[in-house]
């Protein structure tokens, strides 16, 4: 088991300084953490199976199956969410302009609708060239 790799990752999880060092120069940070060549290769591979294998010593990690689900539908009976039923409304919009309270001013918005109808997002189309590890699960 790659003990140094686990210790290295645990340190990065709780130390912004060490994480910053890794982001700035991964090779230097891994060398300072005394990772061996196999550990460095696994971490630099970007392949989750190799990282898991290096951490656990297992060639086919169970984790490849993904995390256990923490949500299930209830197929028997669905109760209406109490918060949705709620009490009758106790607030209504006021047509008369009200001076905003300081607490309600909030941060400036970072998004505005476009009055011209938007074309559907190209969005992820541009990411199709990214190389991603194919999971064999």
């Amino acid at each position: 088991m790659a003990r140094n790799l686990m210790i290295f990752l645990l340190e990065l999880a709780v130390s912004p300084e060490k994480h910053a060092s890794y982001v700035k120069n991964p090779d230097k940070a891994m060398k300072q953490a005394n990772l061996d060549a196999e550990e460095c290769a696994a971490l630099k591979s970007g392949d989750p199976e190799k990282v898991y294998a290096s951490l656990s010593g297992q060639s086919v990690p169970v984790a490849v199956l993904g995390p256990p689900a923490t949500y299930s539908i209830c197929a028997v009976s669905v109760e209406t969410h109490a918060a949705v039923v709620g009490p009758p409304a106790t607030y209504s919009i006021c047509a008369v302009p009200v001076a905003p309270q300081a607490a309600l001013v909030g941060p400036p918005p970072t998004y505005s609708i476009c009055a011209v109808p938007a074309v559907p997002q190209a969005g992820v189309a541009g990411q199709q060239t990214i190389s991603h590890p194919v999971r064999r699960d």
């Binding site: 686990m6 990752l9 645990l10 990065l12 999880a13 709780v14 994480h19 991964p26 971490l43 630099k44 591979s45 970007g46 392949d47 989750p48 990282v51 898991y52 951490l55 656990s56 984790a63 490849v64 199956l65 993904g66 995390p67 256990p68 689900a69 923490t70 949500y71 299930s72 539908i73 209830c74 197929a75 998004y111 609708i113 009055a115 011209v116 109808p117 938007a118 074309v119 559907p120 997002q121 969005g123 992820v124 189309a125 541009g126 990411q127 199709q128 990214i130 190389s131 991603h132 590890p133 194919v134 999971r135 064999r136 699960d137």
Partner: protein, 258 residues
């Protein structure tokens, strides 16, 4: 107020980098910690932060109803709270997003007079927006759990982005140690065919859980979905298929011009 208390935290999808400072603090501070995480680093980290930590993974049993497993989680967590412990439960991702037992534990704790609170974490949806470069404000965004979408009369607005969670085990209510048959997938496709052309481009997405690893992003046509490898962590992202239809009356009433 009784002496026991409950704090629910999220570890993010990728523990190394996404575990928040306040979550670390609460895990350290707790008398008793329970956890369910998706990677070995997360597990080791929680055990290092608090040696009292106890995994909830043992309640997953092959063939057991997941709802029963979640009830067992809540029972164990509440047992600690009732013993007077400041109890912390850590779940991967955001502890309130697609996590049935976290909400139930908080509901039970509060109903019995204990202090109970949830802290946000970085969810798979947060990662999806970042990795796929999508702003939900642009086209709107609908999100459904895939099984819920199939068995209920949910409606899709094809001018909006759509996210379907848990597409790797549609209609499956039990835990399967060795993977899921996903027998409900054809029904999911049947419902989606009411809204989209077979050649509409969609994406299977899985957030990265380890440092240095890329997310899984698989582009394909909707009709190819049955042949795409899916895991319990797979999410289906469906980009908008058409433009939004402007409501001219509302434009006028707001003084906007098209």
């Amino acid at each position: 107020m009784k002496t026991g208390s409950l704090i629910i935290v999220g570890t993010g999808l990728r523990t190394v980098g996404q575990l928040t400072v306040e979550s670390i603090a609460w895990i350290r501070r707790a008398d008793k910690v329970f956890y369910l995480v998706s990677d070995p680093v997360g597990e080791s980290l929680i055990l290092q932060l608090n040696p009292s930590a106890e995994s909830l993974q043992k309640y997953y049993v092959h063939g057991k109803l997941r709802l029963q497993t979640y009830k067992d989680f809540v029972d164990r967590i509440m047992e600690s709270v009732r013993d007077g412990n400041q109890t912390c439960a850590a779940f991967y991702g955001h502890p309130g997003v697609f996590v049935t037992p976290s909400h139930e534990a908080i509901r039970q704790a509060r109903s019995e007079g204990y202090l109970a609170r949830m802290l946000p974490g970085i969810s798979a949806e947060d990662c999806l927006f970042a990795d796929l470069g999508i702003d939900p404000a642009t086209s709107g965004c609908q999100a459904y759990e895939a099984s819920d979408f199939v068995i209920n009369h949910r409606k899709i607005d094809p001018s909006s982005s759509v996210i379907l969670w848990q597409v790797g085990f549609v209609g499956e209510l039990t835990f399967q140690q060795t993977g899921y048959a996903n027998s409900g997938l054809p029904l999911l496709l049947e419902k989606l065919a009411q809204y989209y052309r077979p050649d509409h481009s969609v994406f299977v997405y899985e957030a990265a859980v380890l440092l240095g690893c890329e997310p899984v992003i698989r582009p394909f046509s909707l009709c190819q979905l049955p042949s795409v490898p899916l895991s319990p962590a797979s999410t289906l992202y469906i980009p908008p298929a058409q433009t939004a239809v402007p409501d001219r009356i509302m434009y006028q009433r707001l003084g906007l011009t098209i």
